[in-house]
């Protein structure tokens, strides 16, 4: 599809943290993906798989250890201070925890207006009008502008976070687990809001979450991460209907379905043990230790992410063998 315009291209992105003299935590280890204009890319995985670090590195909140994040043709990690400011005008982030990501000593008006002031977009009455407009856009009232964060519920705070991200009219928003801290009925409100805003304002999202059913609902394409690397990447319907990587299969089968009959018929693929430590990981496929199909090759060489089916990428040496067997 040639008409789709690439907004962000992430090339071999690496983010390591030095956690001791001889210990390197490889949070993100060579991740590649592209985000097209106007789409939602979902990023899923268990806690500790590096999805949040990946999102923050894409935003430039972390310095990348290696690789590139190309936003509209420019590598964001090579920008100087002034250029970086230009970039932050076009890209914003919504954080996971609506309780700790808003400054408790600032009014809602100042929280939302901070970005507007930094970029000098509106002043005086125009600024106030813009803030009131944003509050209405996310389903709050202008009367809320002079209140402090503690006067709001979790769902309302998350809306303030969304309004803050929208304040400077960005093109791209990283949504880092925007709904994990919220109740079921409020989650639906926030997700509907995000979808509505995307349609109205033509936004591009990188949607990070561990709630797999919500990610499927909102995303066009989904990437699955395991211990810092991308193991599978495909259109969201395709990925959920036909997972190819053994880890994705196990992950999908563990999603509880809110339907007792479907739950009875469902065959779970058990996955033994827990996610190993990302500190000084062993070479080879990261999933090999828990994978029942693992061979010697898996333990020696790291599989590349290859296109197995059109638009469906998997990083597994045995992907053909496993799936031809119908497992």
């Amino acid at each position: 599809m040639a008409e789709k315009e690439v907004l962000i291209e992430v090339k071999d992105l690496k983010k390591y943290f030095q956690v001791g003299k001889h210990a390197t935590l490889k949070a993100v280890d060579g991740v590649n993906f592209k985000i097209y204009k106007g789409e939602t890319l979902g990023l899923v995985g268990e806690s500790g798989c590096g999805k949040t670090t990946c999102g923050k590195t894409v935003m430039g909140l972390y310095e990348a250890t290696g690789g590139q994040v190309i936003f509209d043709g420019v590598d964001i990690h090579s920008l100087n201070k002034k250029e970086k400011k230009e970039f932050t005008k076009r890209a914003q982030i919504i954080f996971q925890d609506p309780y700790s990501s808003l400054n408790p000593r600032m009014t809602v008006e100042d929280i939302i207006g901070e970005g507007i002031d930094i970029h000098g977009l509106y002043k005086g009455d125009a600024r106030r009008e813009r803030i009131h407009h944003l509050l209405e856009l996310v389903g709050l009232n202008k009367e809320h502008a002079m209140r402090f964060p503690h006067e709001f519920s979790g769902g309302q705070r998350q809306r303030i976070g969304i309004a803050r991200a929208l304040a400077i009219e960005p093109e791209f928003i990283v949504c880092d687990e925007p709904i994990s801290a919220l109740d079921v009925s409020i989650q639906a409100q926030v997700v509907n809001l995000l979808i509505k805003l995307q349609k109205e304002l033509g936004l591009t999202y990188l949607f990070i979450a561990h709630d797999l059913s919500m990610v499927k609902h909102i995303s066009d394409r989904v990437g699955v991460m395991y211990l810092g690397s991308m193991v599978e990447f495909a259109d969201s319907d395709e990925l959920y209907a036909k997972p190819l990587h053994p880890y994705t299969k196990a992950l999908m089968s563990a999603i509880p379905i809110p339907d007792p009959n479907a739950e009875k018929e469902k065959k779970r693929i058990p996955i033994e043990g827990e996610i190993p430590s990302p500190i000084n990981p062993k070479p080879g496929c990261r999933f090999a230790a828990r994978c029942k199909y693992a061979t010697d090759e898996c333990r020696k060489t790291t599989p590349e992410l290859v296109e197995v089916l059109p638009g469906h990428f998997t990083a597994c040496h045995n992907v053909k063998k496993i799936n031809e067997l119908g497992l």
Binding site: S47, V184, D259
Partner: protein, 342 residues
């Protein structure tokens, strides 16, 4: 007929806060049979955790008020736990009724070795030597499938991962083979693959020990796979109850229906907007006079705001408090599935 092991009658709990008296639980009745799993479902603040802590006698004393007169009682094997002294409660807590908490990071003592924490409850409730207690604790750790149990006994909680801490907490709770286990959001803090492991584990142990489980959760997916019966709470009251199939396939209360439809379905390719409830739950300091869901309910009628709805009994197991099911309610033009049965 299955044996009733626990019966809660007209439970009312209120808290003194700076803003006034908050009525967290307002007249809850239910029972629990031996060996079954009862799920209590609802959003945060609906009183589900307060209900379970009231059964355990774990609510902070001076600021909590539990109604004691009239019908109010928590009957465990016919004995009213509300009348028990703190000493009597200590004997029951942990040995007959146990609880696992939502957050495995904060519910274990960070300064005690895991083995000692499991032994603690064994030593308190059973008159056995320390050596025997240690052997039992080791067996418990093996039962909850912690590898290298012998070595893990000597470690502290910070050396355990989230899933393993939750297992350790289950080991503490089950060390004395209780008859009732209250699991308060046991998997909310965990990943799906670990969640599946923990729920399987609770199910296996339940069969082995013939325990009754009260599962408190907001995750309808988890409920679908393990619960026998479900009760839905809203603003401190039970608004609907029934068997799993009844609640999932024939929900009668508008709130239950809203809860079920606000969850995206993984097994269908449905990209339309999710059903979303407007507004937020009511303030329990001044709870509404009528049905507490009325302000958010799309089918709300005049009477809903004036009088609390009576209970409509549909089957032996399913009942619901909603005016829509009153014989005199005007239900023309409402979706037929609310009233369809069987």
């Amino acid at each position: 007929m299955s044996e009733k092991i626990l019966e809660v009658k007209d439970l009312n709990v209120s808290f003194h806060t700076y803003a006034g008296i908050s009525h967290a639980v307002r007249g809850v009745d239910f029972h629990l049979n031996r060996g079954e799993t009862l799920a209590i479902v609802g959003e945060s603040g609906c009183g589900k955790t307060v209900t379970s802590k009231a059964i355990m006698g774990l609510l902070p004393k001076p600021q909590t008020q539990i109604k004691m007169d009239g019908e109010s009682a928590i009957l465990f094997h016919g004995e009213n736990l509300l009348d028990y002294t703190e000493k009597q409660m200590t004997e029951i807590r942990g040995s007959k009724i146990s609880m696992i908490f939502q957050d495995p990071m904060t519910s274990l003592n960070p300064t005690m070795k895991i083995g000692d924490q499991i032994m603690e409850s064994i030593i308190i409730h059973q008159k056995i030597s320390k050596e025997e207690a240690r052997a039992q604790a080791l067996k418990m750790l093996e039962l909850v499938k912690i590898p290298n149990a012998e070595q893990r006994m000597k470690q502290y909680p910070f050396e355990f991962s989230g899933g393993m801490r939750q297992r350790a907490m289950i080991a503490v709770a089950l060390a004395c083979k209780p008859e009732v286990l209250i699991a308060d959001e046991p998997t909310t803090a965990l990943d799906v693959t670990i969640q599946a492991q923990i729920m399987d584990l609770i199910g296996e142990l339940q069969k082995e020990l013939n325990m009754a489980v009260i599962l408190v959760t907001h995750d309808l997916g988890v409920v679908a796979s393990v619960a026998d019966r479900i009760q839905v709470m809203y603003a401190g009251k039970i608004i609907e109850r029934g068997t799993v199939d009844e609640i999932f396939y024939h929900p009668t209360h508008p709130y239950t229906r809203a809860l079920l439809s606000s969850v995206p379905k993984v097994n269908t390719n449905n990209k339309e907007t999710l059903y979303s409830l407007k507004g937020t739950p009511p303030d329990l300091i001044n709870p509404p006079i009528g049905c507490s869901f009325a302000p958010r309910c799309e089918y709300g009628m005049k009477i809903c705001r004036q009088k609390y709805p009576e209970i409509t009994q549909f089957t032996d197991s399913q009942q619901c408090s909603c005016w829509l099911h009153h014989p005199k309610a005007d239900v023309s033009g409402l979706p037929a599935e609310i009233f369809k049965r069987g």
